[in-house]
């Protein structure tokens, strides 16, 4: 990506992320739904990936999948900030809405797969990548998974399958916030060290700060001779100090007072 177009992406993606953080907080406040911590963890990744995707010509647009379907509010909020969502955000988790608590592909043509059960995105992405390769398309397939999904057998099956099929057009981004449903990942089912595991399987691995938009954009723009895994170190609840690194915010939804505090912090950070 040229310097000029990169700066175009970055100036937009920061705005998108900031707006999406506030939307996701508002959505979980109004719906009393869970998973705000997971949304805040992944919003920077989604903001960069979707902003970049929609600033290039349609033929070279990446396929992007969010496998951690429980961060649906984060995905919907990012797509809404880019005017790519078909439904109004305030219907989130309302009766009769298509914007339910886990990712629904009917919410936007930008969503190739409904998710919610973990470990489904990467195998599906492999199908997309094989297809792009067969069609000799320049499109890349980017799939974002949670680190909790490294507990799933399909992740490791697919970690074998992708190098076997020489899918150098596949980018796996791990949202590495270190927290899964009931506890810290390393106390639940030890994952570390992740990079050498995947390297030994035949992947290139890049470790980045998953909230640094420049690093994210650089990562997804890299050419790789093998499937590329980006381990994006993130903070669950990122951007709202009292939610950061807290297991409770996998479940809690913010009160109106907490929403005000959170908005103030996000506004301050984006100054």
């Amino acid at each position: 990506m040229t310097g000029n177009s990169a700066s175009k992406v970055l100036s937009k993606s920061l705005q998108v992320a900031s707006k999406a953080r506030k939307s996701a907080l508002e959505m979980t406040n109004q719906s009393k739904a869970s998973h705000i911590g997971s949304c805040l963890s992944v919003i920077d990744l989604l903001a960069v990936v979707f902003t970049q995707k929609n600033l290039v010509s349609s033929a070279s647009r990446n396929d992007v999948l969010l496998s951690k379907g429980h961060a649906a509010a984060g995905l919907y909020a990012v797509l809404d900030a880019l005017n790519l969502l078909l439904q109004p955000l305030d219907t989130y988790c309302k009766d009769g809405s298509q914007l339910y608590g886990h990712v629904n592909h009917h919410a936007s043509p930008q969503i190739p797969l409904s998710t919610g059960s973990l470990g489904h995105g990467l195998p599906f992405a492999i199908g997309l990548a094989i297809s792009n390769k067969k069609h000799k398309s320049q499109q890349k397939t980017i799939v974002i998974i949670s680190d909790g999904e490294l507990n799933e057998g399909t992740t490791w099956e697919s970690a074998l399958v992708a190098p076997q099929n020489k899918l150098s057009n596949l980018i796996l981004i791990i949202d590495r916030n270190g927290i899964q449903s009931l506890g810290f990942t390393e106390e639940t089912l030890r994952l570390n060290p992740i990079a050498p595991k995947l390297e030994s399987f035949g992947w290139n691995v890049l470790e980045i700060d998953g909230h640094d938009h420049e690093k994210i954009l650089d990562g997804i723009s890299r050419e790789s001779d093998k499937p590329l895994c980006i381990i994006a170190t993130t903070v669950k609840g990122k951007g709202v100090s009292f939610m950061e690194n807290s297991i409770a915010w996998h479940y809690k939804s913010p009160t109106l007072e907490e929403l005000d505090l959170a908005f103030a912090e996000i506004d301050e950070a984006s100054k």
């Binding site: 409904s114 599906f124 492999i126 199908g127 990548a129 297809s131 067969k134 399909t154 099956e157």
Partner: protein, 302 residues
């Protein structure tokens, strides 16, 4: 049966390069010709049915027509959630080819007995089921499968079924019939039809029921409620609960026909054996079918 399916698919795939044959490392001696002649349309995914099914869904979302081939339980129960979420909910054009219907792999043991698949697969959204009885029905079903977009499941025997339906007439596409002379119809699906035909052949011509063979479940909804037989006997090489006979019974719930069902009551037994042995053991062999027909004949003439 599996050979005629894969060879038929090969001929279609030569004309349509979006057709892919994906195997979970099974099909020795069956898929070889396809793999050799169309290597770009063949993929051995390895032994990972869940990832294979998810990837097949991804390929289908890009316009490919993947046929996912494996032995019965593996492309079904091992990856049921991938079929449910990634294929059926997404309404994608993936065809699952399950080998070893019923007790086709009898001696291989319970892990390879495909006797609960109809219950599990038939309830999934957008799914079409196919269950041919012989190579003739395979030949009829394949072009209809290819013409239909969306999730599909075909249940095949192992082989050596011969041509059981040679003398049958098509009632509607997907259902064929051999008329009898009584007010009874025996309805079956899949290669257990051979047991039905053997049983009926053992009867005097005036005591023979009509036989109906169902190879395409989508055809049932319109056809079955039109039946006017006084007695109907369903036969399946599958569990009775939620199975083929259960579907027929639902469709005839407003009808005056009395429905009897033959199938597997429960698989509590730990035995294995040849397909014939197990059919006899679970009372879906020709002798048991013959007894049931004779009892119904007696009941109607009383």
């Amino acid at each position: 049966m599996r050979n005629s399916f894969v060879n038929g698919l090969l001929e279609e795939a030569k004309k349509d390069e979006s057709i892919l044959l994906i195997t979970g490392d099974l099909g020795y001696g069956v898929i070889d010709r396809f793999a050799q002649e169309l290597p770009k349309q063949f993929l051995n995914f390895g032994i990972n049915e869940q990832s294979m099914m998810g990837a097949a869904a991804g390929l289908a979302s890009k316009g490919f027509k993947p046929f996912v081939y494996s032995i019965g339980n593996f492309p079904t129960f091992r990856c049921l959630e991938q079929i449910r979420n990634d294929v059926c909910h997404m309404n994608l054009n993936v065809s699952i080819v399950a080998l070893g219907a019923g007790f086709s792999y009898g001696t291989a043991g319970y892990s390879h007995h495909l006797v609960e698949d109809i219950s599990a697969i038939s309830v999934l959204p957008n799914m079409s089921l196919y269950s041919p009885a012989d190579t003739l029905e395979v030949t009829n079903v394949l072009p209809r499968m290819l013409a239909k977009a969306g999730p599909k499941y075909i249940r095949l025997g192992k082989g050596g079924e011969g041509q059981i339906t040679e003398k049958f007439q098509e009632a509607v596409p997907g259902i064929s019939i051999m008329s009898g002379s009584t007010d009874i119809a025996v309805i079956s699906t899949g290669n257990v039809l051979s047991e039905v035909v053997t049983a009926v052949d053992a009867l005097a011509a005036e005591l023979r029921p009509t036989i109906i063979s169902v190879s395409e479940f989508d055809a049932l909804v319109d056809y079955i409620p039109t039946l006017r037989y006084r007695r109907i006997l369903t036969v399946e090489e599958h569990l009775l609960r939620g199975g083929f006979g259960s579907i027929i019974l639902e469709l005839l719930s407003q009808s005056k026909s009395v429905v009897y069902r033959k199938g597997i009551h429960s698989l509590s037994s730990q035995i294995s054996g040849s397909q014939q042995y197990l059919r006899n053991h679970y009372e879906i062999g020709f002798e048991s079918i013959l007894n049931s027909i004779q009892e119904i004949n007696k009941e109607l003439s009383a």
